[in-house]
């Protein structure tokens, strides 16, 4: 295998050994992704297609490689994101879009009468607080992200449905979680109290 500087130089368009370097890189990525993506999200996939997309991205992004990791580690990181994103898109194709419907004002309702969690009476107060915090502390966007995430959508799947980006979706979900945790603390419930509701 090449050294890191060799990889970058050999993959540049003007280099005489570029095709050989691409062939070797393709083989390495194919081996890694065939293993790592297998059985993930329960979807069939073409590792060859994913590697082809990844190679295009890697070759276009060579200048972004800073040499702070091995070249292959960096390239596999790029390829993994492309592969996982592709699998997630397929996974979301069969899912209900109900969580994104706005008719109910993006309400998130704790169905206490049907919930096994609330069979124990000492949990009911905690869940009442949770419902109040969802209703009062979260924004519509935060409720939308929370309920679509709980419906099984990934953050990039939510981003695709809502026309935003994964980072923005993550921040909405993260801020919602922190708001709920803070709200519980203000209501006298520690993180341990909240976790015990799962016991």
């Amino acid at each position: 295998m090449y050294e890191d500087d060799d990889w970058v130089e050999r993959l540049r368009p003007e280099h005489g050994e570029r095709e050989a370097a691409i062939t070797e890189l393709r083989s390495i990525l194919l081996r890694g992704l065939s293993k790592s993506l297998n059985n993930r999200y329960g979807k069939q996939f073409s590792a060859e297609d994913i590697v082809q997309d990844a190679l295009i991205r890697i070759l276009d992004s060579l200048d972004q490689f800073q040499g702070k990791s091995k070249f292959i580690t960096w390239a596999m990181t790029v390829a993994t994101r492309i592969g996982i994103s592709s699998l997630r898109r397929k996974y979301h194709e069969d899912m209900s879009l109900d969580a994104f419907a706005s008719e109910d004002g993006f309400r998130v309702q704790i169905a206490t009468e049907e919930s096994a969690v609330v069979d124990e009476s000492d949990k009911s107060e905690l869940l009442e607080v949770l419902q109040r915090l969802i209703d009062d502390a979260l924004t519509d966007k935060q409720r939308l992200v929370v309920r679509s995430f709980l419906s099984g959508y990934s953050t990039d799947g939510i981003a695709e449905q809502t026309g935003t980006n994964r980072n923005a979706v993550y921040k909405l979900l993260h801020d919602a979680r922190v708001k709920l945790k803070t709200g519980f603390a203000e209501a006298g419930f520690s993180a341990d109290d909240v976790t015990m509701a799962l016991a």
Partner: protein
């Protein structure tokens, strides 16, 4: 939308494990993930500057999935 028991349990888990100190988001995590993986693969202590990656991966299921897949792929090609 009415949450079922499993969704309520997941929401409670998400709430209880929330950490306000996650500062990098998914984009920042992606930019540093190769360095974080490299340190972990080589058995080195992760530099303090990369601890933000660990915090984000703990908080973000999507990035955690990607990181898990990345380590699997890298271990496969090292084998």
């Amino acid at each position: 939308m009415k949450l079922d028991a499993n969704q309520i349990a997941e929401l409670i888990q998400l709430t209880a494990t929330a950490r306000s100190e996650d500062t990098i988001g998914c984009n920042g995590c992606f930019e540093l993930m190769d360095q974080f993986a490299q340190a972990e693969l080589e058995g080195r202590d992760v530099p303090q500057a990369l601890e933000v990656v660990r915090i984000h991966i703990e908080q973000c299921k999507c990035c955690r999935d990607e990181y898990d897949a990345l380590l699997t792929a890298l271990r496969e090609i090292e084998a």
